[in-house]
Amino acid sequence: MFSARPNDFRRTCVIRTMLFIVIVSFSFGKSTGDDTADAFFEKNVRPLLVAKCLECHGNEEPEAGLRLTSREAILKGGDSGPAVKLDALDKSLLDKAVRRQGPIKMPPDTPLTEAETATIRTWIAQGIPWPKADSAPIARKEFAVTEADRQHWSFRPVTDPPVPAVKDSAWPLSTIDRFILARLEEANVRPAPVADRRTLLRRATFDLTGLPPTWDEVQAFVNDPASTEAAFRKVVDRLLASPRYGERWGRHWLDVARFADSKDGVLMYGDDRIRPYAYTYRDYVIRAFDEDTPFDQFVREQIAADKIQPKVPAWRLAALGFLTLGRMYDNNVHDIIDDQIDTVSRGLLGLTIACARCHDHKYDPVSTADYYGLYGVFASSEAPLELPMTVDEVPAKSAEFEKQAAAKREEIRKFRDEQFAMLSETARQRTDDYLVHVATSKPDPLETAIFFLSLAPDELRPPITARWRKLIERRATSEDPVFGPWLDLMQITEPEKKADETGPGTGGETFATTAATIMTIWRTVPPGTKPGQLNPKILAALSAKPLESRADVARAYGKAIEEAYSIAKKAAKNETGWKSATAGDEATFQLSELLTGSESPAAFPLSQTRRYMSRAETDKFGGMVQELDRMAVKSPDAPPRAMALVDAEKPYEPHIFVRGNPSAPGRRVDRKFPDLLSASGSKPFGNGSGRLDLAESIASPANPLTARVIVNRVWMHHFGEPLVASPSDFGKRVAEPVHAQLLDHLATTFVRDGWSLKKLHRRIMTSRAYMLASADQASDSVSADPENRLLGRANRQRLSFEAMRDSLLAVSGRIEYRTGGRPADVTDPQNRCRTVFGMVDRQSLPGVFRAFDFATPDLSVERRVRTMGPQQALFALNSPFVIEQAKALAARADVAEQEGPVRKTTAMYRIVFQRDPTIEEVATAVDFVSAPVEPGSKLSPWEQFAQVLLSTNEMMYVD
């Protein structure tokens, strides 16, 4: 058995010694050599383990410490002890667990079948034979994007389908119409006629501006001598040029961007809840829509405005709010990144990539490697302490504020840098304490949990402890020149402790004797720093004095590492020159590197300093950051800033987090675009964080999803129904839409038009399909195609919350237009600004927002739900806001100056509905206003009447 290679010799010796002192039983992989048993294993056991157990009990970060990946691992067991005991096969925990007979019931969700539990029992009775013990442990199925995956309708390249021929060639006004009419003719469904001009104008005006037209606008359109189509084209152009357009369509995008003005921190109240610069993103979106920013550019700016060359104008930097305005998740960076991945992937690509955080996507060809490829991009980006201004220079009035803010930022920077230096140094200097803790305690789940600990200054930092455990787990092998002896020494039976836990009692001497024996063997190993050698500094440290306990061993290690670090530090002028500092002393360098390398357990990035601070300092730091924000919220002079990101100094190198657990880093992956979306596998992103590469990949005409997804969203808002029913999910579970050809036609022309949204609106709205009347006047379409999949008529639409409130303000004559700025309190009944400028308080969304189905700002919303409840009616009946508008409507000069109920009624109808009342309606109105008002009512009959008009279905629905 002896070989010439020294490490083999050494290993053999050590093992012999260990066997001699009977420390631990080594169990080698055992194959019975019995073909029947091997076949049984391969046929029944291995597949069962793979299918039902290894998801959680695999090699990487196994649940409860139990790996079911080899015979040794099973015999070693996990937190609850060996899963199978060879001396008591019939009492095996594994058997009990799968039979659900003890406290542990496995698998947790779906019990094994009887046949399966019988398989396990048989296998245990055989003594768990494991053929080919040397072969790699059971591997899970490798992920790959298949050709079939790429053939899913939405993953195929966008095509330019030929425009279909139709029988009724007079009907189509545009290519869109030919696609629609072809399907209608095929199904033999006659489309509805074009709606009347008033209806059309109302539809178009609400659609593009979120407001009703005026009576005069309707009259002008109705009386336009041009054909309806020609006249309507002029209307669409006028509306697209209106500044009200961006306020309406920008808000649609804010749903996708899960925009909110507020933070979601706990115990934050009042102004402290406000993100001082969130509004600059909202204003950016509105302006970008108004200026018809090409959509590909819009995408690039929202992901990488800071990286675009030549530099974008300052206001466009605010686009980065798309990434930074999500929830804070208690400052847990992994959740924040998850939210960024989710918003980018569902919002822009219609892909649910966030599903691949813990495992490969269950339905779509998206792997954890794809997820962590994107994770690396966002983890390599951070918010700068000083956010860039969205104006070119500091406004004069802001000078004094800026001086104070700069001082506060400097204070924060200084405090953080000092804490970073102090905490990093302490972490290194206390290596012995960390190692003793690791050696003498079991892993505590709190070390790797994502939450907040109130740390005292002298407490060990749990994440650092966890990383030391990881490092030792990885390096404590018999080959390792540093931690080789650790492996052996830690197997010695620990001396008993005194009852009061003050220190080792009996047994220390036995420990020391065994340790000495082990070290005798290790002394025969050649000194050096390569595998199979032993670092002489470690040998010296472990030989200096008797080792009476694990703590002694760990402390000796710790002291040796710290000493090497001091030598290196003394010699190094700065932390970049460690290697030369140790001047060829490889042994010292090897140890010092454990503390100075970027993968050192003691190392953490500057940006994460807060997590390592003691409670008092955390509070102080948080307070200072909050104070800076508060200053900006409170001072009207604070200049607008972009909630921007910059690339971190050093890009983050992502690993797959096994089952989503950041303390279980697995395989290293590149920062890159998902494989699915690149024909021949993705190349790693090269440019810094990779944000610009990511943006380019999304905004590419070759990307099959981006254009399809946005044209579908635009279509949905125009027609009330999207072509693809799940606008943020174009994945494999989503069937090809009825109008797949039309979708591709729209996407192709959209890209050809330079990604212009306004051109897309024009294309869609000037089609005959858009101009059709709604259901009731088109019975043929209703009976033949009840769900209107073929688009033979218009869908009646209810006003959104914003359009509802804005329309009430518009018809009452009280609406005030503005051009952005800080959020307003639109729940104040006196407030007159458009709802899009209202404060969106994510943590405490006002009741009226919720009652009217406002998009939850918690996550990217593909479309709003539509509910109907009494809370909506109570708002119309009782809210001071509606009552205020009713009074204002009745008091409008063009109403008040009318004499007699008929004229007054007519005036009100023209303002609210842009039509004249019928005779019956006039009679009803006259009846109502002639009745005496109850004593106690504060509204006049006309005010009460106005409130009723504002509450009608006609007010709330657009035909």
Partner: protein, 470 residues
């Protein structure tokens, strides 16, 4: 929700489809449940669960801040033996702050009822009901922080935006009273993690808990827009009559659009709701002896209001003990826990009595507990004992009573010192699964499609604790 193939007029179907798969199904039930002929698309219309269940509604008494199990419902004589001495190292676990020696409970425990379950003297009144209560003494959670554990207990996740249990229950069952919110969360002020405790997240906003700040007493401060500040009720009735007339004119040219009809009905509902809600929240309408039994304190009033609400068909009422985290006794637990229990023991006992007398106990599920428990070891404040205990997620007690619950039982156990759940450990996910089961749901099947997958309260976890079931 289960799907059933039902034909219905088309535009209804379109309306439902517009709300996503989950709500579509939900709305389907809602429509089918309404037999009046008028199709009221109320997402709160009552619906049937997956299987018949005794419990029809929930009162969740939330002792927020983390009540100490070893001072309330989980007696540990060993603590007295070790008082002042360090806990054995295998019985001590890390929590948010540093803790020191074992600290005996300052309170006496006594046996109650036929079952002889031991309860602390500070809950002596509630303890009169032990034979109808089930104590899960082996609860455990994930982390010793309030915010995260509050969200875990309420929403099944510590940090992510997930719908609360109340939202799920209301989504699944609707409400039996269309004139009141289906899910109400009462608190004098706001608990820590505030509205995230009763949020609907990606479920429709109508399922979000309606928060009532019970420091306020006027009805119009409790429910938004419930009273009209400008016209008398007869005038308002005239307004609604006019409104409906105009709506009928409008509707006559737009037949076959149930949403228009639904909105007409919503105004009638709203009109009635004004009266009903005022009545439900007005505890002055209770007889004097009932009010006295609950006590004229904020806790007495809250629980009495809770009973009035569930009696009127509200599906789930959460009653938080107080602003922020009152049960967070880091110092002087002898005094603070006694005071806290003194505030709620009488009202809880009164509520249980009252439910029993009214025949509501059989089909009302009462849940009581906090987000976690407290350490058996004393908390160290600057290295010294302050007589209090730190947060403890390793083991704590939650009790249940009423509909479908096996009374007089103790489920699971903590270790000898009450630190960690060791026997039949019940995670918060398991508690959720059990509550859903008691309400008639397979917790794995009450789902909602969002962002590409079907979500549920228990995510991928949760086992029903059979021992709790009657």
């Amino acid at each position: 929700m289960s799907t059933e193939p039902i034909r219905m007029p088309i535009s209804r179907r379109r309306m439902l489809a517009s709300a996503g798969t989950g709500l579509g199904m939900l709305g389907l039930h809602a429509l089918m449940a309404d037999d009046s002929g008028a199709s009221i698309a109320s997402p709160l219309a009552p619906k049937s669960p997956h299987f018949p269940a005794k419990a029809k509604r929930i009162i969740h008494i939330y002792l927020n801040g983390g009540p100490s199990q070893v001072d309330t419902f989980d007696p540990k004589p060993m603590l007295a033996k070790y008082d002042g001495k360090p806990l054995p190292s295998d019985s001590k676990f890390s929590t948010e702050r540093q803790t020191g020696a074992a600290m005996a409970s300052p309170f006496k425990f006594a046996k109650y009822g036929q079952s002889g379950i031991e309860v602390s003297e500070i809950f002596a009144k509630t303890a009169q009901h032990v034979d109808d209560m089930c104590f899960i003494r082996s609860m455990h959670a994930n982390t010793p922080n309030h915010e995260q554990s509050m969200r875990l207990m309420n929403c099944g996740d510590e940090r992510l935006s997930r719908p609360s249990m109340g939202s799920w229950v209301t989504y699944g069952l609707g409400s039996e009273n269309a004139n009141l919110p289906g899910f109400i969360a009462m608190c004098p002020g706001l608990p820590v993690a505030d509205v995230s405790n009763w949020r609907s997240a990606f479920l429709p906003g109508v399922y979000q808990g309606t928060h009532l700040d019970t420091r306020k007493t006027k009805i119009d401060e409790l429910i938004e827009n419930i009273t009209n500040p400008a016209v008398t009720r007869p005038d308002q009735r005239r307004q609604i009559d006019l409104l409906q007339r105009l709506n009928r004119f409008h509707q006559s040219a737009r037949s076959g659009e149930p949403e228009l009809e639904a909105r007409i009905q919503a105004f009638e509902l709203a009109y009635r709701m004004q009266m009903e809600a005022t009545d439900a929240f007005d505890i002055q309408r209770e007889p004097k002896h009932v009010r006295e039994a609950y006590g004229d304190t904020v806790h007495g009033r809250q629980l009495l209001m809770a009973r009035r609400l569930i009696e009127r068909g509200v599906r789930i009422v959460q009653v938080y003990h107080g602003d922020v985290q009152p049960w967070d006794s880091h110092n002087d637990i002898a005094k603070s826990h006694r005071n806290l229990a003194n505030e709620c023991d009488g009202p809880i006992a009164a509520l249980l009595n009252d439910l029993k007398q009214r025949g509501l106990f059989e089909d009302t599920l009462v849940i009581c507990g906090g987000e976690f428990g407290r350490t058996p070891a004393v908390e160290l404040v600057n290295g010294k004992s302050g007589g209090g205990r730190d947060h403890n997620h390793w083991g704590f007690t939650v009790w249940l009573a009423g509909g479908g619950v096996k009374g007089g039982t103790v489920v699971g156990a903590t270790d000898d010192f009450g630190f960690r759940a060791v026997e039949n450990p019940v995670h918060v996910h398991d508690l959720h699964a059990t509550i859903m089961h008691l309400m008639g749901f397979d917790h794995t099947k009450l789902t909602y499609r969002n962002a590409g997958r079907d979500y549920r309260l228990t995510d991928v976890h949760g086992n029903v604790v059979k021992e709790v079931l009657a």
